[in-house]
């Protein structure tokens, strides 16, 4: 994430499309790397950086959609722009559901591709910062004791201290003490911050 200049990866079995797209994007000033097949791309084991993947849907061997699935499951943040010679609705739905930035029909407008690339890079940046924040919150969350985590879980549901104390079978004072500790560890300036953090962490919260 140190590069400032994003790199565009093109995976297409058609050399014309591959090379022409590369030439066009190079003209705009992107770094472009091309691959003739999904397997080639996987084999390259690239370090993820700023950029996006322009992926042909239909290819011999591992198809574009298959590659996308692999990336998603690997929690890759590399945004994917699909290009296809003859796309179908189910195909595009599947791609978009899996988080594709765009689904472009060949031949595509240069601007549409550039827009998609920009969106992808923006999206990638957002995703990356969000992920960074989540990672931070997670770290903070990990600092909580288990008793504090229990109190935190109940606090963010809107329960009053007295109720929490009753539920946990302890005193209201003890709950207040935990709360202060939680606010500290979670670096929350206010209860509202704490609720927001909880929201962000929601999916990652361990089940009770």
């Amino acid at each position: 994430m140190t590069e400032t200049k994003p790199t565009i990866f093109i995976v297409d079995d058609d050399p014309s499309v591959r090379e022409s797209t590369k030439l066009m994007l190079e003209g705009v000033g992107f770094n472009v790397k091309t691959f003739a097949s999904a397997q080639d791309f996987i084999s390259a084991k690239l370090q993820e950086g700023l950029g996006c993947l322009i992926l042909d849907v239909r290819m011999p061997g591992i198809s574009g959609l298959d590659l996308q699935e692999k990336l998603v499951s690997a929690e890759s943040l590399l945004p994917v722009i699909f290009i296809t010679g003859h796309g179908t609705v189910p195909m595009s739905v599947r791609a978009m559901k899996a988080g594709a930035v765009d689904f472009l029909q060949k031949p595509f407008e240069e601007q549409d591709l550039l827009d998609a690339i920009n969106r992808a890079i923006t999206q990638q940046r957002e995703k990356k910062s969000k992920k960074d924040e989540e990672d931070e919150l997670q770290q903070r969350l990990k600092a909580l004791t288990s008793r504090e985590y229990e109190v935190f879980s109940l606090l963010v549901t809107g329960m009053a201290n007295k109720e929490i104390a009753y539920k946990l079978g302890t005193s209201e004072r003890t709950v207040k003490a935990h709360r202060a500790q939680i606010m500290e560890k979670m670096k929350a300036g206010s209860f509202a911050d704490l609720v927001r953090f909880a929201e962000k962490l929601k999916t990652h919260l361990p089940d009770h």
Partner: protein, 754 residues
């Protein structure tokens, strides 16, 4: 006319021509003087004369010239008359030589002998019909030296016997005679003859009576009497008669049968009997004369006449007197029998019958002939009718053309097929050639229509324009006609209207093409994504290149190298797009197959390029093993690609339930054993269900829910049309392999690397 007549007729004609030569054979001329006692009207003379003439006529040696004199001594018998007569004869015949004299009756002889030697001295004499007493006198006379003759003999016995034979109970005979010397002479003969019967039979003397008296006497004769008529030249009243006329009158008046001695009286009232034949006497006299002419001396020739009799009866008299013919002596001749129709017209009838018979035979012959001919004609007509009917009712247009090109026969079907009638073709034999379409005249001219020694029929097909302007297809078969001797008799031909068949064939071909097109379009429909992809790829590239080029050129420092690279890309992908479109157009195009020499590897690569990234084939790995340098095959590129496409789509279908990593097709092109190319498409799917195996290539047989069942059927038809074969079989290690072969062209093998 039968041939024999042609020979006989000229032969007869020759005989007629040469007959005068026969007649011209020299015959010695002999002059014979015949002296008759009585006058010319004496009937007995007439008969004698006939005999004389007959006797001479048959002689081959002499040309006898007869001179005849009637002395009429019965009526003018006195000596002065005899002298005058002799004088007349002497004067009359003084200028010529008489070789023989025949005298008839004794009186003429007596006159002649009395006047000799002054009259005809030395001339031999034949004394015909003289009495025995005369003859006896002559024998004693010197005259016998030059006289011979025939003796009348005694006719009475013969007559009497004959009369008594038919009238055995006779008691009386009435003798009738006149007063002339000859009458008396005969009467004496009778009287002499009667003496032998005088004891049994009484004589009624009716001699020397007047005619009236005679008639009255014969009309009232007692029973059991017959009349014996001697002769009446002159009756008792001095009246002259012709003896047989007198006999007629007497016989009519008589109440008893009348008999006499001479056949000269037969027919004038006598019953008949053994009669003296004066004719025979005449013939014998002539015969004697001829002997004398040949040199015999009269003295050495005995008197004849013994046999000069004839047994003859008058039928009318037999009837009149109730005498049965059966009572007559054997060998008797019955004359004056009213001739039966048969006898009367025997010759005419026989002739008529003969002619009728001949005519009948001829008619029968003609009728039979006619019948035969009619039957033959009928058979020929029936036969002709049969054959004509067969020919006329043939559906095809038959003809037989003569060596000169004219038509011997044309079946009426020609009108149905061509619109022109039989007459049209007969009148103008060139019409046939005129109606053949000009484009097809080459076909006609190219076949051996007039070959004379061709044994196999020739068959060609061409089109004609009918009278109505319609085009019709004709299947023409022709064969030369030769007779048993090998003579060329023209050409027999059969023309069949195969327009309907041709149209059906054409329609079927059209339908097949249509169906092939439909399945191709169906297959193409299934591959639309592939089509779009194939076109969009180069289009996308072009647009990218164009954008890049614009950008490289619009920079403050234009990057010309990159711009050129971009533009080259544009050109390259534009070409590629055009190729895709051409390929698609070819695959979608309807039409007849066009067989061209093609490289099978190129055909496979083209279809693979086209289908490379179709969504249907997505995830399908297609491997190729194309042996370089395969023979060039003669084939229709599009059709072969259709077959490949069908096989690939089938392979895909077979593998739609297979794991993705097993979804693979292997396409091989390799040398076929006998010089062609073998292409196989192998899949790793479920394989061919054995229950469907036999019907794999049948139309409308499908295992796919939405399939038409035409893919393999059409593929099989296409490969068969290419002269190849197509088969499918399961692989030992799973899946199926379909393969087809296409024979190589006769041309050289393709260059290596294709």
């Amino acid at each position: 006319m039968k041939p024999i007549y042609w020979f006989v007729c000229p032969a007869l004609l020759l005989l007629l021509i040469f007959q005068p030569l026969y007649g011209a054979e020299p015959k010695e001329a002999k002059r014979v003087l015949v002296l008759y006692s009585e006058d010319k009207t004496h009937p007995a003379h007439e008969m004698t004369e006939q005999g004389i003439q007959e006797g001479f006529r048959s002689n081959p040696l002499f040309d006898v010239q007869l001179y005849t004199e009637y002395l009429d001594v019965s009526r003018f018998g006195d000596p002065p008359y005899a002298r005058a007569m002799a004088d007349l004869l002497r004067r009359k015949y003084s200028g010529m030589e008489i070789h023989v004299i025949i005298t008839v009756y004794p009186h003429a002889l007596d006159l002649l002998l009395a006047e000799r030697p002054a009259l005809f001295p030395g001339v031999p004499v034949i004394a015909a019909i003289i009495g025995r007493s005369n003859a006896e006198n002559l024998e004693r006379s010197p005259a016998r030296r030059f006289v011979t003759g025939t003796i009348l003999g005694n006719p009475v016995t013969a007559v009497m016997d004959a009369a008594l034979h038919v009238r055995p109970k006779t008691k009386h005979i009435a003798l009738v005679a006149g007063t002339a010397p000859n009458d008396s002479y005969v009467e004496q003969g009778f009287r002499f003859g009667f003496r032998a019967y005088a004891t049994k039979i009484g004589l009624i003397d009716l001699t020397k009576l007047s005619m009236e008296e005679t008639l009255s006497r014969v009309g009232s004769l007692p029973p059991d009497t017959f009349v014996m008529y001697a002769s009446i030249l002159r009756d008792g009243a001095g009246k002259s008669f012709v003896p047989r006329d007198a006999l007629s009158v007497i016989a009519r008046a008589s109440n008893a049968p009348v008999f006499s001695f001479s056949d000269s009286y037969l027919g004038f009232g006598i019953v008949g009997g053994r009669l003296v034949s004066l004719r025979k006497h005449g013939r014998e006299a002539a015969s004697l004369a001829l002997r004398v002419m040949r040199g015999e001396l009269p003295a050495s020739i005995p008197f004849g006449g013994e046999q000069a009799y004839v047994t003859v009866y008058d039928w009318r008299e037999l009837k009149r007197w109730g005498i049965s013919e059966k009572a007559l002596p054997p060998g008797s001749i019955v004359e004056f029998k009213p001739p039966s129709m048969w006898e009367q017209h025997k010759k005419k009838v026989l002739g008529g019958l003969f002619f009728i018979a001949i005519e009948t035979l001829l008619i029968i012959g003609l009728v039979v002939n006619l019948h035969k001919r009619r039957r033959a004609e009928a058979e020929i007509a029936a036969s002709a009718l049969r054959y004509r009917t067969v020919a006329d009712y043939t559906h095809d247009w038959e003809y037989w053309s003569a060596p000169d090109g004219a038509f011997n026969y044309i079946s009426p079907s020609c009108e149905r097929i061509t619109g022109y009638s039989v007459r049209d073709f007969m009148d103008d034999p060139s019409l046939f050639l005129k109606i053949i379409l000009p484009e097809d005249r080459g076909t006609w001219d190219g076949h051996d229509h007039d070959a004379r020694d061709r044994s196999k029929p020739q068959e060609i097909q061409f089109r004609i324009r009918t009278k109505g302007g319609e085009i019709r297809w004709i299947d023409h078969t022709c064969l030369p006609v030769n007779d048993a001797q090998g003579k060329f008799l023209g050409v027999r031909a059969s023309n069949r209207d195969i327009t309907a068949r041709k149209k059906a064939e054409f329609d079927a071909q059209q339908q097949r093409n249509e169906l092939a097109h439909v399945t191709r379009v169906t297959a193409m429909g299934e591959l639309t994504s592939s089509l779009a992809h194939e076109l969009n790829q180069p289009l996308a590239a072009i647009r990218n290149y164009a954008n890049a080029a614009q950008r490289f050129l619009s920079q403050s420092e234009p990057n010309l190298i990159k711009a050129r690279e971009a533009l080259e890309g544009i050109v390259r992908d534009d070409k590629r797009a055009a190729e895709v479109i051409n390929g698609v157009r070819g695959l979608l195009k309807k039409g007849e197959p066009r067989y061209r020499p093609v490289h099978m590897n190129n055909v496979i690569e083209e279809i693979l390029a086209f289908t490379r990234s179709d969504s249907l084939l997505e995830g399908l790995s297609i491997e190729t093993e194309l042996v370089p340098g395969l023979p060039i095959v003669l084939g229709d590129r599009v059709q072969l690609q259709q077959v490949l496409l069908n096989l690939m789509l089938n392979a895909l279908d077979a593998m739609n339930k297979a794991k993705p990593d097993l979804r693979k097709i292997v396409i091989k092109a390799e040398n076929e054993k006998d010089g062609g190319v073998r292409v196989s498409v192998r899949d790793f799917g479920a394989g061919i269900d054995e229950t469907h195996r036999e019907k794999l290539f049948e139309p409308f047989h499908t295992t796919k829910p939405g399939g038409m069942g035409m893919g393999l059927a059409i593929s099989a038809r296409i490969i068969l049309a290419h002269g190849g074969s197509i088969q499918g079989e399961n692989n030992p290690d799973g899946g199926a392999t379909f393969y087809f072969t296409v024979p190589a062209t006769t041309e050289s093998k393709g260059p290596p690397g294709t």
